[in-house]
Symmetry: C2
Subunit: 464 residues, 2 copies
C-alpha cells in the first residue's frame, strides 16, 4: 500500500508545489497587528486543504490568532497521532535583502547549486506542514491514512505560542494522542537526516530606557544629562563576561551538564567549523562563544543572551545631533535543560534594575514571550519508527540531533497531554530561517512528503 501512496506523491509533485506556493503567498506574519486578516485568511485556506484530504477541519478561536484543528474518523484499536505545526511566519524585514519578494514564492538555485523554493515560511513552517498535508492527500487516494490523526496547526508559534497553552487545556480531550509528530526542525546536513531530541527554551524581553521628556540638542544638553542611548549600551554591555558566558546572577544555576557520551556523539557528527563560518562569509576565527565548548555544544546545549534589536535617537540618513529621550533593545535568552524561563526572566530583570544607570527609568514591555527547554527520550518504539521513516524517506541513515531553536508548544503538549514529541524535521542549516531569502530545497520538500507518508504507515503498527 505505501508503495502506491509514494507513487501518487511522485505523480503529484508539481501540483503539490503549486499548492505550497498558494500557501506561501499569504503574508501570515503573526507579530504584526495589522496582519490579523491575513492570519484568518491563511487559517481558512489551510482548513480547506485538510477538507480536500477528507479530514473534518475547523478554524478555532484562541486568545489571539486562530488555530486550525483537523481530524480523520478515529477508529478503535488504532494509535492516535497528533500532528503539530504552525502557519504563521516571521516578519520578512529587511526587505531590500531579498532576491525575490518574500511573499511571491520563487523557484531558484541555492548557493549549494540545488533547486529550492524561496519565500518567507518556505521551510518554517509552511513547507513542512505542507509535506504532511500532501502525504494525507496521497493516502486519501488509497483509502486514507492508517492512523487516528488529529492535526493542530497554530498561528502564534513565532510569537511564543502565547495562547496555545490555554487552548490545549480547553481542548485536552479532543487533542488526546499516543504520539506527537512535529516537523519544524531539520536534517543535520544535506544527506544526513536526523531525529531531534532537544530544543532550547526562550525568554524574549524588550527593555526600554526613558530619560528626558523630549529629544534634546546634543550641544545644548550633552554632558549634563544622562543620554538614554549611552545608558542602554552601558547596561547591555554588562550582560556578558569576558569568557563569553552570560553575566546574570543565577543564570546557570539549573543548567544540565553534558554527558561525556553526548559530547563524544556530537564530535562524531560531520560538522566543520570552517564550512559553518564560510556559509556566513566569516572565517573560523570569527566564531565567538562561551569558552570551553564546541560550536554544536554552544548552539545545542548552552544558554545564550542575544540582542535581537537596538533602537534609539536618530536613525535616518546623515547626521542629527540629538540626544534621544529614550532607547530600547529587544533581548532574547535561549535556555537549556533544566532552566526555568520564569526564573530566568526574573533574574534578568533584577540584574537590569540593579545595574540601571542614574537618570533613566526602565520599562519591560514584553511578559509572555517565553518557552521551556525540552529533552525527549530517544529509546521509545515511536522514535525507532521515526528513525526508520526518515531514513527511508531521504534514502540515508538518520542520526540524532538537538536544535538550538525553540518550539514552545513541545513542552506545553508534554505537560498537558503527557505525550512526547517526535521531532521529524525536513529543513537544512542553510535554509535562512528567519532571514531574507528563506528557502526549502525541493529535494527536502519531496523527501519530507515521502517521509511523512511512510511515518504514518509505520506508526499504524504501534501497539497501544
Amino acid at each position: 500500500m505505501i508503495d502506491r501512496v509514494l507513487a501518487t506523491i511522485e505523480q503529484r509533485k508539481s501540483q503539490s508545489l503549486e499548492q505550497l506556493k498558494e500557501f506561501l503567498r499569504i503574508p501570515s506574519v503573526s507579530t504584526k497587528p495589522d496582519h490579523a486578516e491575513h492570519m484568518v485568511r491563511c487559517a481558512n485556506w489551510l482548513a480547506d486543504q485538510f477538507r480536500f484530504a477528507m479530514l473534518d477541519a475547523r478554524v478555532m478561536p484562541t486568545g489571539g490568532h486562530p488555530a486550525v484543528v483537523a481530524k480523520n474518523k478515529h477508529q478503535p484499536g488504532r494509535p492516535t497521532v497528533l500532528l503539530y505545526g504552525h502557519y504563521d511566519v516571521q516578519p520578512p524585514e529587511p526587505l531590500d535583502l531579498w532576491n525575490s519578494p518574500p511573499f511571491e514564492p520563487t523557484i531558484g538555485k541555492t548557493e549549494a547549486g540545488t533547486d529550492a523554493i524561496f519565500a518567507r515560511g518556505a521551510v518554517d513552517d509552511k513547507g513542512q506542514v505542507w509535506c504532511h498535508v500532501e502525504a494525507l492527500l496521497a493516502w486519501q487516494a488509497h483509502g486514507g491514512v492508517p492512523v487516528n490523526l488529529t492535526c493542530l496547526i497554530e498561528g502564534e508559534e513565532e510569537i511564543g505560542s502565547e495562547n496555545l497553552e490555554k487552548f490545549v487545556h480547553a481542548h485536552k480531550e479532543e487533542l488526546k494522542a499516543d504520539v506527537l509528530v512535529i516537523s519544524d526542525t531539520g536534517l543535520f546536513a544535506r544527506g544526513v537526516p536526523a531525529i531531534g531530541y532537544g530544543l532550547r527554551g526562550l525568554v524574549y524581553e524588550e527593555v526600554r530606557l526613558d530619560g528626558p521628556s523630549h529629544d534634546l540638542h546634543s550641544g545644548g544638553w550633552g554632558g549634563a544629562i544622562q543620554n538614554p542611548a549611552n545608558a542602554l549600551v552601558e547596561l547591555l554591555a554588562t550582560l556578558h563576561n569576558k569568557d563569553g558566558s552570560v553575566n546574570i546572577p543565577g543564570f546557570y544555576d539549573d543548567v544540565a551538564g553534558l554527558s561525556p557520551e553526548e559530547r563524544a556523539a556530537w564530535k562524531a557528527l560531520p560538522h566543520c567549523d570552517d564550512a559553518f563560518a564560510r556559509d556566513l562569509k566569516l572565517s573560523k576565527g570569527d566564531l565567538v562563544g562561551e569558552a570551553g565548548y564546541s560550536t554544536l555544544e554552544r548552539i545545542w546545549a548552552r544558554p545564550t543572551c542575544d540582542i535581537n534589536g537596538l533602537s534609539g535617537g536618530y536613525q535616518g540618513p546623515g547626521a542629527k545631533t540629538v540626544i534621544g529621550s529614550w532607547a530600547s533593545a529587544k533581548v532574547s535568552m535561549r535556555l537549556v535543560p533544566n532552566q526555568d524561563p520564569k526564573k530566568v526572566q526574573m533574574a534578568f530583570r533584577q540584574a537590569i534594575r540593579d545595574r540601571l544607570p542614574n537618570g533613566v527609568r526602565v520599562t519591560f514591555t514584553m511578559d509572555d514571550h517565553i518557552s521551556k527547554p525540552v529533552l525527549t527520550p530517544i529509546d521509545t518504539p515511536a522514535v525507532k519508527l521515526a528513525v526508520e521513516a526518515i531514513s527511508e524517506g531521504f534514502g540515508k541513515p538518520a542520526t540524532f540531533t538537538r536544535t538550538g531553536g525553540s518550539v514552545p508548544v513541545v513542552a506545553t503538549l508534554r505537560e498537558v497531554l503527557g505525550v512526547d514529541a517526535l521531532l521529524v524535521g525536513f529543513g537544512l542549516p542553510d535554509d535562512r530561517v528567519h532571514s531574507p531569502n528563506e528557502k526549502f530545497d525541493l529535494d527536502c520538500f519531496y523527501n519530507g512528503t515521502k517521509t511523512a507518508a511512510i511515518l504514518y504507515d509505520k506508526l499504524a503498527t504501534l501497539k497501544m
Copy 2:
C-alpha cells in the same frame, strides 16, 4: 532715525510673522538627499526677500546645497558687516511627538505660558535670520541700513557646513568684512539677554559593525557566532569612565582649563539645576555628567561623547528572534578649546579599532562632519556695541555666555576672513532646538528684530 525704524518694525509685526511662516513652510532638511529641491526652493525664496529690501541677492552654487549671498550698495568710509545665518533645518523626526505639523507653523502657548510660533526651524535658524531680514526691510523704509552689509545664508549648517570653507575661500574678497554678526544662539534665560563668546566644536561619526553575511535565527546560531549588536554595545560602553569622563586616549590632552574668574562668573548666573531638570521632567538627581563640574561647566567648557543614534536587528512591533548581520551607531563628540577635531576623530577611530570585538568588521561612514571649538574676545568695541544693542532690544542688561552647541562656520570665517563673530542670539533654552515642537517665543522674535535694527545702527559708528 532708529526710532522711526523701530516704529516701522512695530507697525509691520503681523506682516513679519506671516513672512516667517512662509519661510518655515519650506521643508529645507539638508541631511535628506531627497529634499534637495526644497533646499533650492528655500534659497530662491530667501533671495527674493533680500531683493524686497533692495539688496543685490544671488543664489550661489556650492559643492552641496546652494548659499544665498546678498549685499547692499557698499559706500566708502562705512564699516562692512557680514551677516551669517542658515536656512537649512534638522530632520523633524520623530513626527508623532509634534503637537502641530513641523512644517505648518502654528501659533500657540509655551509651557511657560508665553506666545510662540511652533515649527521646525522656528528659532534654528530661520526665525533668527528673519529678524535680520525684517530689520533690513524696516531700514529700507527709511533710506536703508547705515552700514555696508553682506549677508551669507548657507544651506548646510546642520550637516557640518561641509562645503562652506571652500566657498568662503573662493569668494574671500566678496565676503571681506570688519565685523561678523551671527544670530544662531540664544538668551541665557527669559529676560536675560546675552552675548555669546564660546562655542563647542564637533566630531560626528557613524560606526557600523558587520558580522555574518545575513540575518540569522537566534536559535540556530545564537551562542556560536559574534552578534554585531552585542559587539556594538560592548564597544560603545567603553567610551566612558565611571566618573563620567570620556575614555579615549589623548581625548583631554588639549582641553583648555577654566579660569577661577570664569567659573565664578558662571556661578553668578541665574542658573538653577532644579529648574533645568524640571524642564526635562527630570529631578536634580537625574543630572549625570563629568565629576567635578557644574551643569553650565559641563555644557559650555567640557567635551562630551554622546550616542545620537542606535540601529540594529529587528525594530518593528513584537518579537523577532534574529541576530542582525550588522548594527550601527551615530556618535558625536562636542569639543572645547583647544581640541583639534581631526586629532580627536583619529583618536576615536583608533580606540574603536583597538577595542573591536572578534567576529565583526568596522566601517566609519562619515568623515567631514566636524567643526572647531571657538572662543571670541569680549573686550572689543564691536562687542560693547552688541551688548548695548541687545540690552536695548530686550530692555534688560545683557550678560556674557558660552554655548554648548556648534556653529562650524565661526571658526572657518575667522581663519579665512580674519574676523571675529558677534554671537547675538535671540532664542531661549526651552525652544526645543533639534527636537519635536521647536518654537520661537514671539517676544524674542520681535525683540530680536529690534535688536538687529539697533545693532546695525550702532555698528555704523565703528571707526575703521
